[in-house]
Amino acid sequence: MKKLIAQREIDVNEEGYLMDFNQWDKEIGKSLADEHDISLTDRHWEVIDFLHEKYRKEEPLSIRGIKKSGVIDIKEFYSLFPGGPLKVSTLIAGIPKPKSCI
């Protein structure tokens, strides 16, 4: 389905995750963050950069993986992206949320 984000028509799935990462840019990220009442700081962007790197390498995301990366500690990760940090941060970063095989 299409959704208007930052004045552009973007392809998203039923849960609002981007279908095509190529449609993502920082404006889209900011607009998605606004919907979650998050105003993006430098720390948020550092996390988003890290998520993009993992996504490009097709490495699975986990909270503990983020802890081990040294980019951020877990308490801060929760405080930056309240209400399920991986679910929310991946949505803002324009990448799929972590999934299993079914």
Partner: protein
């Protein structure tokens, strides 16, 4: 004489030995396979062992039986891989030189990764079922258990056979019903993901199973520690889930050999080309099965499909030809849903599991993503297929290494 060395004689390593012995000229190539353990386990059977559906004898055999006669089998611990000198060092300082190395050292559970998990209550009221020891200890515990809060828990992804924890919850429901004590057991499924099912089609078609079996779901639970004194698991957001019996899937990691050899990622999985199965750092080292970091499921069926493709690529590599990036992430799994029924799923990197028929388009006889007795019979028959065909490298008729899109109800590509 050239040397091809395979590390690990589990599902993937044993299959590779059986494939390659038929393909490589004996006068030119010596094939050596190394594993420290004598026993080869049928790991899918660990799901059934706790419920007394399989016996211990049905899930283990002497591994040597499945190694082809022409291969050199060494039962020793592997100490180190030295890619720069093409050497593998085994215990007792035995050194093996290789021209081509295949790493098939798998993945294992690491309960030490979570505080309080492998503590005083490990195998008392906290169990895993991903090891032979854990599944057997859990079986003994369940035989005597009088009921209470059963929590089935996934620590973090990726894990081997990602649906096994859900199958465990389904089978537990059946098991306690059968024992006439389902009303005394409260089953909760706890996952770090957004749901027990995470893909749209599967969620839509299968969520009824949880409701029908009265299995509660706790989602987005990222465990920080086990409070074994008060019988609860606690996550990073201070969320707590109480248990009387905790059945957990600990963190899964690649073998510590990979870490010692400096060849792995954070979880000791080897960075590998997801299409060709060549490792990213060393052209003459290949990886297969659970040992890789590729974004496919860690499952025997995946290793089986990979083995066919890797065999062709090894032959191309020897001839100096370009490798083919053919592996599409194909997986094919039976999923037990309890009460003598099962589902079948077939999927790959780009297609999520959908409804349809398998293996013959429009005919079946197996139905995809639908509960049936035939699927359950398929899962039960698979143990025979595993011991007699799969690890011996015999091609399974009508099932191709790459996924067929025929007979399936695809709506869209992910």
């Amino acid at each position: 004489m050239k040397n091809l060395v395979i590390l690990g004689a589990g599902t993937a390593g044993t299959m590779m030995a059986n494939h390659l012995i038929k393909k490589l000229p004996k006068k030119e190539w010596k094939i050596t396979i190394v594993d420290q353990y004598k026993t080869h386990y049928y790991q899918p059977g660990f799901l059934f062992l706790p419920f007394d559906i399989y016996t211990t004898k049905q899930v283990k055999k002497n591994g040597k039986k499945f190694i082809p006669d022409g291969a050199n089998y060494i039962q020793k611990k592997i100490e180190l891989i030295q890619p720069e000198t093409n050497t593998v060092i085994l215990e007792d300082d035995v050194k093996l030189q290789y021209d081509i190395l295949i790493v098939a050292t798998g993945s294992k559970t690491a309960p030490d990764e979570i505080e309080g998990m492998k503590g005083p209550m490990w195998y008392k009221n906290i169990f895993d079922f991903y090891t032979y020891e854990g599944a057997k200890a859990l079986r003994d515990h369940l035989r005597e258990w009088e009921g209470g809060k059963l929590v089935v828990h996934i620590t973090e992804m990726p894990i081997k056979c990602p649906v096994a924890p859900l199958e465990f919850a389904f089978l537990a429901d059946s098991y306690f019903k059968h024992k006439g004590m389902r009303d005394k057991v409260d089953i909760t499924f706890v996952t770090p993901l957004g749901g027990a099912f995470t893909k749209p089609t599967a969620t839509k078609t299968l969520h009824y199973l949880l409701e029908e079996k009265n299995i509660k779901e706790v989602t987005d639970f990222n465990i920080e520690r086990v409070d074994y004194e008060n019988n609860k698991i606690i996550d990073y957001a201070e969320k707590e889930v109480e248990y009387d019996l905790l059945v957990t899937v600990p963190t899964n990691m690649g073998d510590s050999l990979i870490e010692r050899s400096g060849m792995g990622d954070d979880l000791n999985f080897i960075p590998t080309n997801k299409g060709s199965l060549q490792t990213l750092d060393h052209p003459n080292i290949f990886a297969i099965g659970d040992a890789t970091n590729i974004p496919a499921s860690k499952a025997g069926s995946v290793a089986h499909f990979e083995a066919e493709i890797l065999t062709d690529n090894i032959l191309r590599f020897i001839k100096g030809e370009e490798l083919k990036e053919e592996f599409d992430g194909h997986a094919n799994c039976f999923i037990e849903t309890g009460n003598g029924k099962a589902l079948l799923i077939d999927f790959n990197y780009t297609h999520e599991p959908v409804e349809g028929t398998f293996p013959f388009p429009g005919v079946g006889p197996l139905r995809l993503l639908k509960e049936s007795r035939a699927n359950h019979m398929g899962k039960m028959a698979f143990r025979w297929v595993y011991w007699n065909m799969l690890i011996k490298g015999v091609h399974i008729p009508f099932v191709s290494a790459t996924m067929s899109e025929k007979g399936k109800n695809f709506q869209k590509v992910n």
